[in-house]
Symmetry: C2
Subunit: 339 residues, 2 copies
């Protein structure tokens, strides 16, 4: 167990000395270079094993000039299952290329997001996968300009070229709203994320377009944007349901709103009021168990992460050759959960 430094891991030189060769030869063996005499190779291997040697990846990436084998994942809230599934999907694909995922949780703070991206670049990540919180993407554009591959998930790049994976926000919202209209609803409310979020506005557009197709115009009094957490959504929905001309159905632009609104509707029902139909974007666990009819816009959320990971991995492999940016759009489908 002899080692050179205090408590540290053994270095290549330790291995080389123990095997009675130069550091270079040891390096060759450990990199499986065939140009080494089998005998010495065995000696080096034995020495490395005896010392529990592992090459210092920090030194390697510095020397090799490439990145660190790390990919930054920039999201707003890992506790939201949407993001944790994304993270898992991303990581599952990247691992196959020997890449690891670094968490960057911004908690909706645009300033934190800027800092985070700059820090990731300084850490020489091989790429960044981001779901930016706001409309300003200059920090991502800057990273891309410095040669760091950037892939956006669930939002398109604004003002620069980058790969992205989107969900058919417009189509999904349109279909769900149309479904409510088919069932005879005419006053349909909308609850969603802050207007700065791309998916929110796109889904609002889909909702409005479906109403327009039915000869209706969206009533701004029935539209509540800005809820990020279920609690806020419950409050907003409760207000809508207390309106003189209350909506008979509600459409939510993401799972946080759907869950919050569900609680409001359940309370409404418990108070003996009229039934209110509910539809929302994003499928989620236990949606089938809520005891209320529920129409959800589903899509393959693991695939969203995997696709983003694949795009990034291919950029990393390509090493910066100027392939044109690719935009993927995942389809959605409607799921009905019974009452």
């Amino acid at each position: 167990m002899e080692q050179s430094r205090r408590g540290g891991q053994p270095t290549l030189r330790d291995v080389a000395e123990r095997a009675g060769v130069s550091a270079m030869t040891a390096s060759r063996v450990l990199r499986d270079d065939p140009q080494v005499l089998p005998a010495t190779r065995e000696r080096v291997r034995a020495a490395a094993a005896a010392l529990g040697y592992r090459p210092n990846e920090v030194a390697r990436s510095l020397r090799l000039g490439r990145g660190t084998g790390l990919v930054g994942l920039v999201v707003t809230n890992l506790a939201n299952p949407f993001y944790s599934r994304l993270a898992l999907g991303v990581d599952s694909v990247l691992v196959q290329d020997g890449l690891k995922t670094v968490i960057g949780n911004t908690g909706q703070d645009p300033h934190a997001e800027r800092e985070l991206v700059a820090d990731l670049v300084a850490r020489r990540v091989d790429g960044i996968i981001a779901v930016p919180a706001g409309a300003d993407q200059r920090h991502l554009a800057a990273a891309a300009a410095e040669g760091v591959p950037v892939v956006l998930a669930s939002r398109p790049p604004e003002g620069f070229a980058a790969d992205c994976v989107l969900v058919d926000d417009f189509g999904g919202a349109h279909a769900a709203t149309a479904r409510l209209l088919e069932r005879g609803h005419r006053r349909i409310g909308f609850l969603g994320s802050p207007p700065a979020v791309h998916t929110g506005t796109e889904r609002l557009r889909g909702y409005a377009a479906a109403l327009a197709d039915a000869g209706l115009t969206a009533d701004t009094r029935l539209i509540r944007q800005g809820q990020t957490e279920p609690r806020e959504a419950t409050r907003a929905a409760t207000e809508l349901l207390a309106l003189p001309e209350a909506p008979t159905a509600l459409f939510c632009s993401n799972n946080r709103n759907t869950i919050g609104v569900f609680r409001a509707i359940r309370a409404h029902r418990a108070a003996g009021e009229a039934e209110v139909a509910l539809a929302g974007f994003d499928d989620f666990e236990l949606a089938d168990a809520l005891g209320l009819p529920l129409t959800l816009v589903a899509y393959d959320s693991d695939e969203l992460g995997r696709a983003a990971g694949r795009l990034l991995a291919s950029r990393v492999r390509a090493g910066g050759s100027p392939t044109p940016p690719r935009h993927l759009v995942l389809p959605t489908s409607l799921v009905e959960y019974g009452g």
Copy 2:
């Protein structure tokens, strides 16, 4: 925008040249060394800003000999809300110390976990926070022996010294089972994770102890260990409920089992069979909305992650001084959700 390398980020020398000083002086300025003439300091600052310079963290950590400012988080399944909350809690604390979290998702594979830990060490992470999948922790012990701080969450260290944060598994399971007994249940089944998982066995012990306290002995035919996903739990519970002397209540050792068992009980009820009471370890979103009475063992799952993060951060700050290992145990409480 002149830079030295192709597409790469500017280096310290680029800044120095532009400012007309040596690299050393530039380094001093950027590290806020006071021993620099204000005038030159400004020149360097201006040059750095103009180039958008950021120190290369890879080079820094190699030179400084310390770690990389990264912490590895080793878990089995990030899609499980238990782990994603843990990750968020960990990261939220580490960020305050300038540390970033690297995801290590093992998908229950012990071999993958070994490889992962070795890789994290090779990457010179400053520490590892792990929820090991199996009973064998030699890979973690090895990492700790090489001087990498290791903190275990939700499992105690086996065979080596390390900090850990546990939940009162025994007490929580005991209390929940006792609650079912108070309600008159005498045949209570147990559904849980594979026996190799510490929380599973500890919670089984709590369950058995509560039965013993009531003068009963655990009936092994009513115990099903090994379910990792809700689907498996549903099947196992369905089998239990089909037994000649079926249990009248079920206790689950984690949220995956509780959710799966819930579905089995709901189907059972829909088939017009007798009511079955349900209790489980882990609180989870929408547990209040399932339309079934439900007793859950709750604890502060964010705090679990934060506490683990704090323990690790303090080790990193201490830089390897031999403080004795600390073991924290988080209390649990029973939560009743109404039918």
